[in-house]
């Protein structure tokens, strides 16, 4: 689908300047050995993200001689050990998707001081000196846009439920904060409940069912979810409570094809923004740039696109793609969107990797 | 030395002790007697601080005491050898002996070297040699009992209580124990001794106190009493004949159980015998001789190394308890609690366990039938239990044993193996059990009776196998069944025994 391909949205908004980093001190001759310390492959998004990383590697086969992967299974302390093990194996660059935002700061700082450049992806760490570049799709921008859409769809008035992801996980917290910031601009919007869902459809459904029970389905005017993972659970809860079709209040949340399918089938107002997994491939490309001595931005924002159900664009949020053009009705509901890989199918995905 | 006044202890549903008064002085052996469940163990547990009495006072060493924990009683110089072994299987013999009192180095750490040496010394005094560094779990029950006794000889003991210490040790060790007890008595220690073996009482006790149903019957000097009077005090009635009359079974018919060259190494070596219907065949021997293992090997609950076992004309060489039960064999084990009863279940379930298939119908377990059967057994053996659906955990030892008799008479059609069927059971209950055994034999069962109490073997059996170290060292019959002969075989070297038999 033809989506948004302008300048990164945060590039326009961000009050801070984006530095360009001189990487000539890291320049070397290939083929390079890159170590990739992944936080986890524990859910659909992470699985697709990892495929995107592999896809990026396969596009640079001529430059990458070895690509060593470790997986911390969500545990920052294991990730620190993983990084130490990668360093012992003589990597030229460390690509890292931190399990939590701050905990890896010391070890990444040490890595940089050892002269091994660090590229972080999806999450960054506190100190600028602990990495060369950070590749992301902006959590803040994503949440601001979806929250703005929600507020405008409700004409600035209504009772809204917030369903953030995993308590304490930095993307969830950043998105939640951004959304709250936006909703605070609309005095008519009342946030009636905020419940963490752990990005689990099951939790999303269970929690929403209880809220519907408490408030009555008719008294909920909108559900802001930071991802379709729990958003789909929320829609299911409404359907379970007998509210179907366009009667379902406006929802937000992207990523999960199932969410798009539900929105398409039922026709309620919907805005989906994927936290695009294609940042994986982008990070690999950037890593190669670093090793070749090409200057890189300190922060690389990968574009996401805004998907909106037909007729539900608002004053400031317009669709890059309309829902019917984006949803993959013939594909499984579990599919994660926005991988950037042509004809992506997670089960059959396979690319050629170095050794 | 110790005086208990008006002690009462109530458990939910049972008044274990009812206004009991008891006194014992330094330098005497005071025997405490009574039927199962009379409250003996409960009484001494109030002495030791394990239970806090509901009423009454305790005076010890001239002062009124109120223990809040066993530790306080222990610190005051009271040492108790409980009926249940109080041992730690993963600790060594020496550590068990010195638990809480280990000799320390000047850094406050345990001085293992000294501890081992002193443990050796104490066991020496008891005339019993065990590797003091061995873990207690590797010991036989008899050795474990000796460790338990050895604990009493550590530190200063003013009052020593022994609750059935001889239940699992052999005659020679019991002799040494008695010598030790007498020595301690002469040193001025006050000793309270509990046992169901009346011979022992007469050989060491100075005074006797009898309890019945939690109440005091009386305290007498041993000289005032003879055996019958003592039994009378305990049971509350005259017990004329302890053993029912023997009946010589017909040995014409083929044996119901034939065992040939049975080995279950290392404890059973080359055991052969025949058992006929209606016969009570005894297996005697010292504890540790391997008698229980013979029973287990026949029953199929431990693996056999070699040899054959046949029931009637039927060999069965893929042994398992299930196969044995299906062929009409029953086995009443020596350890009621660990290997016998299911304490969490009710009486009827305990009785029906081996023959569950009999109660299984298309719609499940036939509870009504099961309960009926249990009720029959309860009536038949006069088990003192409120009903088939009440639990077994709080029954007295004798009644628990009768429940097991109910179980096995129900399950077993041809051969019943009884391993120590009267262990820890009072005289009254014993007599009843002897009658039951007699009756079962008369009904045509072959009975294999294992017992460490020689009078029992002598009084009941028409033929006796004697074992030592896994071998059968002799077989005695008829008038030769007297304690001396049996003991001779039980302690004989194998070769000399073989000579003797020849």
């Amino acid at each position: 689908a033809d989506g948004y391909d302008g300048l990164p949205r945060t590039f326009l908004w961000n009050p801070n300047f984006n530095e360009v980093i001189d990487t000539s001190s890291y320049a070397g001759d290939g083929p390079f050995t890159i170590g990739f310390s992944n936080a986890s492959q524990g859910d659909g998004w992470l699985g697709t993200f990892y495929h995107s990383v592999q896809y990026g590697v396969s596009e640079n086969l001529d430059k990458i001689g070895r690509f060593i992967v470790t997986d911390a299974n969500g545990d920052p302390t294991k990730q620190i050990s993983d990084i130490q093990d990668l360093l012992e194996q003589g990597i030229d660059l460390l690509l890292v998707n931190p399990a939590t935002a701050d905990a890896l700061d010391p070890i990444l700082g040490r890595t940089m001081r050892r002269g091994v450049p660090v590229v972080t992806v999806a999450r960054r760490v506190e100190s600028d000196s602990s990495f060369v570049s950070f590749v992301t799709a902006s959590d803040t921008a994503l949440a601001r846009m979806s929250a703005t859409w929600m507020a405008e769809t409700l004409n600035g008035k209504g009772r809204v439920v917030l369903l953030p992801g995993l308590a304490g996980a930095s993307p969830a917290e950043m998105r939640l904060q951004a959304a709250k910031e936006v909703f605070a601009q609309f005095p008519g919007i009342e946030i009636i409940d905020t419940q963490y869902t752990g990005w689990s459809p099951a939790n999303g459904r269970q929690i929403m069912a209880a809220i519907i029970q408490r408030e009555g389905a008719g008294n909920i005017d909108g559900v802001w979810a930071d991802s379709g993972l729990q958003g789909s659970g929320s829609v299911e809860a409404f359907i379970g409570a007998g509210v179907t079709g366009a009667d379902i209040p406006p929802h937000t949340g992207g990523d999960l094809n199932g969410m798009y399918q539900l929105a398409h089938e039922n026709g309620f107002p919907f805005a989906g923004i994927d936290y695009t997994p294609s940042i994986g491939a982008a990070a690999v490309h950037l890593s190669v740039d670093v090793l070749e001595g090409t200057p890189v931005p300190q922060r690389l924002d990968v574009n996401f696109q805004v998907v909106i159900s037909p007729g539900h664009e608002t004053r400031s949020i317009s669709a890059d793609v309309l829902l019917p053009d984006y949803v993959a009705m013939d594909r499984p509901g579990e599919l994660i969107m926005g991988s950037g890989i042509p004809d992506y199918d997670p089960t059959s995905f396979s690319v050629e990797l170095p050794n | 030395m110790i005086r208990l006044d008006g002690i009462s202890k109530i458990f939910p549903g049972v008044k274990s002790l009812d206004n009991v008064t008891f006194e014992s002085v330094a330098g005497e052996v005071h025997a405490l007697l009574g039927e199962n469940g009379a409250g003996k163990s409960t009484l001494i547990k109030t002495v030791s601080g394990a239970y806090i009495p509901d009423e009454g006072t305790i005076h010890f060493d001239g002062k009124k005491r109120k223990w809040n924990s066993p530790k306080e009683a222990k610190d005051a110089g009271i040492h108790i050898i409980y009926q249940e072994l109080v041992l730690f299987h993963e600790l060594s013999v020496a550590e068990n002996i010195f638990i809480g009192k280990a000799p320390l180095t000047r850094f406050g750490t345990i001085d293992y070297k000294t501890m081992y040496e002193r443990a050796d010394e104490i066991l020496d005094r008891l005339g019993h040699h065990i590797n003091v560094q061995a873990l207690v779990k590797s010991l036989s029950v008899a050795d474990q009992q000796m460790v338990e006794i050895a604990k009493a000889l550590v530190g200063e003991t003013k009052l020593l209580v022994l609750d059935e210490p001889t239940a699992v040790i052999s005659g020679r060790e019991a002799e040494l124990l008695f010598e030790r007890i007498k020595l301690l008595r002469d040193e001025g220690v006050c000793i309270i001794y509990i046992s169901h073996r009346l011979e022992e009482i007469f050989s060491i006790a100075d005074r006797v106190t009898v309890l019945k149903d939690g109440q005091l019957v009386g305290t007498r000097s041993i000289e005032e009493l003879d055996r019958d009077q003592l039994v009378g005090m305990m049971v509350g009635r005259e017990l004329k004949d302890i053993f029912p009359p023997k009946r010589i079974p017909s040995l014409e018919a083929a044996p119901v159980l034939t065992v040939r060259n049975l080995c279950a190494l290392p404890k059973v070596r080359d055991v052969s015998f025949d058992l006929h219907a209606g016969e009570i065949l005894g297996i005697a021997g010292l504890v540790g001789a391997g008698r229980s293992e013979v029973a287990h090997a026949v029953f199929g609950s431990i693996p056999r190394s070699s040899g054959t076992v046949s029931l009637g004309s039927e060999d069965f060489n893929t042994p398992s308890p299930r196969a044995s039960i299906d062929r009409g064999l029953g086995f009443l084990t020596e350890d009621r609690k660990e290997e016998g009863l299911m304490m969490l279940l009710d009486t009827s379930a305990n009785i029906s366990a081996p023959v569950l298939p009999e109660f299984t119908t298309a719609t499940g377990l036939d509870r009504a039938h099961e309960i009926q059967v249990a009720r029959d057994e309860i009536d038949r053996f006069r088990i003192a239990v409120p009903g088939p659906e009440s639990g077994v955990s709080k029954l007295s030892g004798g009644n628990q044993q009768k429940v097991l008799f109910g179980r096995w008479t129900r399950a077993c059609r041809r051969v019943l193996i009884l391993d120590e069927p009267t262990r820890g059971i009072d005289v009254g209950a014993k007599v009843e059990i002897y009658e039951i055994i007699r009756q079962l034999a008369d009904d045509g069962l072959g009975i294999l009776l294992i017992s460490s109490e020689l009078p029992e073997i002598v009084g009941l059996c028409t033929r006796v196998l004697v074992m030592r170290e896994g071998f059968v060292t002799g077989e005695v019959e008829g008038s030769r069944i007297v304690e001396e002969t049996i003991m001779r075989y039980a302690t004989a070297e194998r070769e000399s025994a073989a000579l003797d038999v020849a």
Partner: protein, 322 residues
């Protein structure tokens, strides 16, 4: 006979003499009462249906877990097995409801295999149930993720939605299924001779062998039952949730154990009822539901959950001690 003729006042006084048996229903009543006071709509048909629909998958797992705990075991692999069953179900990529029985059959067979391995490790190799099932949990997780490469996909027949979240005459379908298994397993445990063997084995494995019961075999069957129930619960949970993910049922293993304990099943084996276990599951789900209905934030939910669990278990153990 004599049981039937108990006079009514006897029943009342029993509560005071044997409080242990009544703690569980009592806490249930208390919880429902509190919830209704706080939120009058709590007792509405709709909410009850909802709670039951949510409770069913956990309750199914609890039924199985009860069997394992009764034979002195513990199964930490149930949640991992639930997710694996869910992933397995999507592997068929079936779209027709006709495939549902096949999916169930395959799931049951595979789960039984897992239970068999757990049981064999525990009995024949004497591995601590905690560790055996913990390792099984990790292994299943590895296989599942390897198969899905982290991102499950594939579709489920529509019929699963009906099974997991549908209603039949107003009653949640999965609740009916739970009721079905509750009756079957209840019969098995409390009425059949196999159930008796379970209690004998759990209470005293040594005696069990000596009365001709193959204690190992009974134990293994209990693990198989537990795993099969977990597999089935996984299918119902995925039907309820609507999407498969690799962590379906995460946390159910500890919840199931807690539910069993709350329901009065002794972790040392041999004691407890299926009825109690099911009530324990309901209590736990009620606790989850109530903290959400109260609109409490996640943190307070955790705190309240912890306090209630300790409190109820404390009441229970208090009343069973002498």
């Amino acid at each position: 006979m004599s049981e039937a003729a108990v006079n009514p006042s006897e029943g009342i006084s029993k509560i005071f003499r044997q409080p242990g048996r009544f703690i569980v229903p009592l806490s249930l009543v208390l919880l429902v009462g509190t919830a209704t006071l706080l939120q009058p709509s709590f007792l509405s048909i709709n909410n009850i249906q909802d709670i039951l629909t949510q409770a069913a998958p956990l309750a199914l797992v609890v039924l199985g877990q009860a069997f394992v705990i009764l034979v002195r075991g513990l199964d930490l692999s149930v949640a991992s097995l639930m997710a694996s069953a869910a992933v397995l179900a999507t592997a068929f990529n079936a779209t027709s409801d006709a495939m549902i029985p096949v999916i169930f059959l395959v799931t049951i067979v595979v789960s039984a295999g897992v239970g068999l391995i757990n049981g064999l490790l525990v009995t024949k190799r004497n591995v601590s149930p905690f560790l055996a099932t913990l390792a099984m949990m990790i292994v299943l997780q590895g296989i599942r993720f390897y198969y899905t490469q982290g991102a499950p996909s594939g579709s489920l027949p529509e019929g699963f939605r009906v099974l997991g979240a549908g209603r039949l005459a107003g009653i949640p379908v999965n609740m009916l299924v739970f009721f079905f298994f509750f009756c079957i397993l209840g019969w098995l445990l409390h009425k059949s001779s196999f159930g008796r063997k379970i209690y004998i084995t759990g209470g005293n494995p040594k005696s069990a062998n000596l009365v001709g019961i193959h204690a190992d075999r009974v134990t293994i069957i209990c693990y198989v039952i537990c795993s099969v129930m977990a597999g089935i619960a996984g299918l119902f949970l995925v039907g309820f949730v609507g999407t498969v993910d690799n962590w379906v049922g995460r946390g159910y293993e500890l919840d199931a154990i807690v539910a069993c304990v709350l329901g009065g099943i002794m972790l040392t084996g041999g004691k407890g009822t299926l009825w109690g276990a099911a009530t324990g599951a309901l209590i736990l789900i009620l606790i989850f539901n109530i903290v959400i209905i109260l609109g409490l934030p996640v943190q307070a939910q955790l705190i309240i959950k912890g306090i209630i669990i300790i409190f109820v278990a404390g009441l229970f153990s208090r009343s069973t001690q002498t």
